[in-house]
Amino acid sequence: MKLIFERSVPGRRMSLFPECDVEECLPEVPMREAPPRLPEVSENELDRHYTALAREARGLNDGFYPLGSCTMKHNPLLNERMAALEGFTGVHPLQPAETVTGCTEVIDTLEKYLKTITGMDRVTFQPAAGSQGEFTGLLLIRAYHEARGEGERNEILIPDSAHGTNPASAAMAGYRVVELVSDENGMIDLEDLRQKAGPKTAGLMLTNPNTVGIFDTDIREITAIVHNAGGLCYYDGANLNAVIGLVRPGDIGFDVTHLNLHKTFSTPHGGGGPGAGPVACKSFLAEYLPGLRAVRGEAGSSDTWQYVWEKHSIGNMTGFYGNFLILVRALCYLESLGRDGVPELAHNAVLNANYMMAKLKDIYPMAYDRICMHEFVMNLDSFHEKAHVSALDVAKALLDFGIHPPTMYFPLIVPEALMVEPTETESRETLDGAIAAFRAIYEAMVKNPERVKATPATTPVRRLDEVTAARKPVLKYDFGGAE
């Protein structure tokens, strides 16, 4: 496929802007030597280029997408229509607060819903993504300890099964990471935790269900141990889809949590973003929350709105109020679901995962042989040993069935891992189709492993040389000639 630069012809252009109706004028400062080599194309060529790219992209609309830990659920179409309303897209972030009461209502309503869902007392929408939410949550924990004169608490406890973002966020917040060991069920080893929790402990970061798809039943004891040691408990909301409406982090000992609106709350992933990672916390942490909030003025001047800071705010995570249009979508979603729809989604997310696991576990070894939550992890080490077929090979073979592969090689504690998360928005027929594909791949592996290793054969490109890409990085187009 051509790059847009390869479709460019000097002098071609679209007609977007009017002639200048005032005297033309640029500041008297040094100017660039040559214009940027941006593409020069007509609208027809531009449209065709991006259509060709779209045809080589894969959206949820193209089929099953059981990417573990990513919660690739259907993105309701109404949400897009609502996020495109000019009443939202045309608002300047620095408009007077009394002219943006619609935005404020969106934010306040969504906060109300997320509070009841998490069992927390306050929410900030500053963070633009889950990882920034983690960072925010840790800064709250840090501010809390510092305010109490316990700034020496510099350790965050994180299980070895955790997503890499957890330790990375802890490091960004200036913490030392103390790794907790998972037991044979993928759960926290309580003894290990008791040993590691202490006067240096600032907090614990945990997702529950954990990254292997198992609900840690000791959760109340775990949070109690951390609290007793003087630390706070951070709930990574990445896996909330399994228990939303059934278990609330605020009820089981957590003090702060982030939510991934682009996972549990159906906002689109956009090929990698934008998402949103709001942080909910208990009231004792509210005074540290980042960002400005629009509030109605004091009694007697009810028409005067103003923006206020929390008393000891940690500052800002993003320039304005986070990814507002993502919030609109999440609000639509929750308005659709309502109080009864929320737990139903968790029911079906877990049902679909257990259904697929049950139909595959006779031939695909599961990392943990017990009821899973919204996702399950296969351990294909034995495939690799017996037939030299890796988790990667199985994933690539699925491409030829028109199925997006599961997450590969995560969590790190499971060798040759494939992590499958069907989500609740898939039909039984879709699950059955994927089960049949997995079984067909297994058959192929038994008969002719080389066939599996030669996949994919139906995709626009075949397996790509990632090693060379990293060794000799080519990160931009080479226009040729002297640079």
Partner: protein
């Protein structure tokens, strides 16, 4: 109620039983009862699409949309070509995940590779990442990249967008980095002060300036770069990418790391987000680059293809040793920016830049004529600050708002930060100036300021009252300081 679950209750029950569960309780038996939430969520019951749409439209209808905007201050009212919306609303782009499975994600990978190339072209840098959350957080990551174990002090120009400074401060607090502000003179970083601070702070990792700065001024970046580099610190620039259609590039100036807010490139105002964080750097810094990178390679048949690359920097491999915790980008926003840049091309980008600059200079002249004196005597791009003799900011902005115009951003009772873009017509600006003139004359009667209809240059020539100028200067410095303070107690936007 919409729940988006395909299966009927009957189907769900059949599936449950098929895999050996009696009912939902049985399926969730592993979750201890004492952790279960047995109450009812404090939310309304579910609603149909028709009802949800009615409700959300009601909210959208409460916001006021200004037909004319003369406010920027970090978010800009530019024309968004139809192609941008058309492309970015395609579900294949909208609903895709991060392109980890390269074989079926070439469309997205290639679009990011094209984006990286365009950003390099704009900035003159060697490496652009796949984008970050927004300009402010990108600046914070740039600062993080500049630091290392030994060098943990960052010098920031006081002429940086205060919102960007806030985010940098928030990030730096976590990382244990120290922020030192470099004072400004007449709306631009003071080279002497910079030199002095660089001398006083041997642990300085870098100096960050904004280009054009928060007040619209195009500072003498060459000189600041030279001073910074002479002291062995990295030179960081936070840019408006649209201005780079004409201005000397950070590459030409000698920047090491460039961040920027990509919102002007075809992203709507959208109450502040989602926006687009631009981050680019010199080749030598490639392996400490934050965030995702897409690289070119070949497939097993020798065909060209694209993959996420250099992942060894990233958190899912490096965990706590990663360069950052960033694990997504703003791919769809980067796509929008790419489509924007492809639609306008080099000529269109230049045209947009010239239109913005020309209109802003026209507006400045007309406002000067109306009695709002320019606060600084420096070259500016498409934003500028005015000073009024009387504390007229509130009155001016209210009068404009009453006429459907979102006036400039209030910096103080006397100071307003204005912006013009290609969307503002001469007529709109004339109308705004007339409203300003009327408001001011209504407020104070006329003293010895500019006569209505005077141009900026004429007004500037005439304003010999040194005291007034000094007062204005002081106020403006004060506003700047307040704006860049970490936590203002209370902030009212008007």
């Amino acid at each position: 109620m919409g729940n988006f679950i395909p299966g009927t209750k009957k189907e769900q029950q059949a599936m449950l039983q098929d895999i050996g569960f009696r009912d939902w309780e049985d399926l969730f038996r592993d979750i201890p009862e004492d952790t279960r939430f047995r109450g009812e969520l404090d939310m309304p019951p579910g609603r149909s699409d028709l009802e949800v749409e009615r409700e959300i439209r009601r909210m959208a209808g409460k916001n006021r949309i200004f037909p004319v905007m003369l406010r920027g201050a970090g978010a800009y009212d530019h024309y968004v070509p139809a192609a941008v919306d058309e492309v970015s609303s395609r579900e294949e782009f909208l609903t895709a995940y991060t392109p980890y499975q390269a074989e079926i994600s070439q469309g997205i990978l290639q679009s990011i590779f094209e984006y990286q190339t365009m950003i390099c072209e704009l900035t003159g840098m060697d490496v652009s990442n796949a984008s970050l959350y927004d300009g402010a957080s990108a600046a914070a990551e740039a600062c993080g990249m500049a630091c290392d174990r030994k060098k943990k002090v960052l010098l920031l120009s006081e002429t940086l967008d205060p919102r960007v400074v806030r985010v940098i401060r928030t990030y730096a607090a976590g990382r244990g980095q120290r922020i030192v502000m470099v004072p400004a003179v007449n709306g631009a970083a003071d080279p002497a002060a910079l030199e002095k601070l660089l001398g006083e702070e041997p642990e300085t990792a870098g100096f960050l300036m904004q280009y054009p700065n928060y007040f619209g001024i195009v500072e003498d970046a060459d000189k600041l770069a030279e001073i910074t580099r002479r002291a062995g610190a990295k030179f960081l620039m936070h840019v408006n990418p649209l201005a780079l259609g004409v201005l000397k590039t950070p590459g030409e100036i000698g920047a090491d790391i460039v961040s920027g807010e990509g919102q002007p490139l075809g992203l709507g105002l959208a109450y502040g987000g989602p926006y687009l964080g631009i981050l680019a750097c010199r080749k030598k810094l490639m392996r400490s680059m934050v965030g995702r990178l897409v690289g070119e390679t070949k497939d097993s048949r020798g065909d060209r293809g694209y993959v996420l690359t250099l992942q060894a920097r990233e958190q899912h491999i490096r965990r706590e040793k990663a360069s950052s915790n960033v694990c997504s980008n703003q791919a769809l926003c980067a796509l929008k920016a790419s489509v924007y840049l492809a639609a306008v091309g080099p000529a269109g980008l230049r045209q947009a830049a010239v239109l913005c600059s020309s209109k802003a200079h026209y507006l400045a002249e007309r406002l000067a004529g109306a009695g709002l004196t320019p606060a600084y005597d420096r070259p500016f791009f498409h934003e500028f600050v005015t000073v009024s003799r009387d504390p007229a900011t509130k009155n001016i902005l209210h009068a404009l708002a009453d006429n459907g115009i979102l006036g400039g951003f209030s910096l103080s009772d006397h100071e307003i930060l204005w912006c013009a873009t290609e969307k503002n017509t001469k007529e709109d600006m004339d109308r705004a100036a007339a409203i300003v003139a009327e408001t001011l004359s209504g407020l104070s009667g006329r003293r010895d300021g500019a006569a209505p209809g005077e141009t900026m240059k004429e007004a500037a020539k005439k304003t010999s009252d040194k005291a007034v100028k000094e007062a204005a200067k002081e106020m403006s410095d004060k506003a700047m300081k307040e704006a860049t303070e970490k936590i203002p107690g209370k902030e009212v936007q008007a």
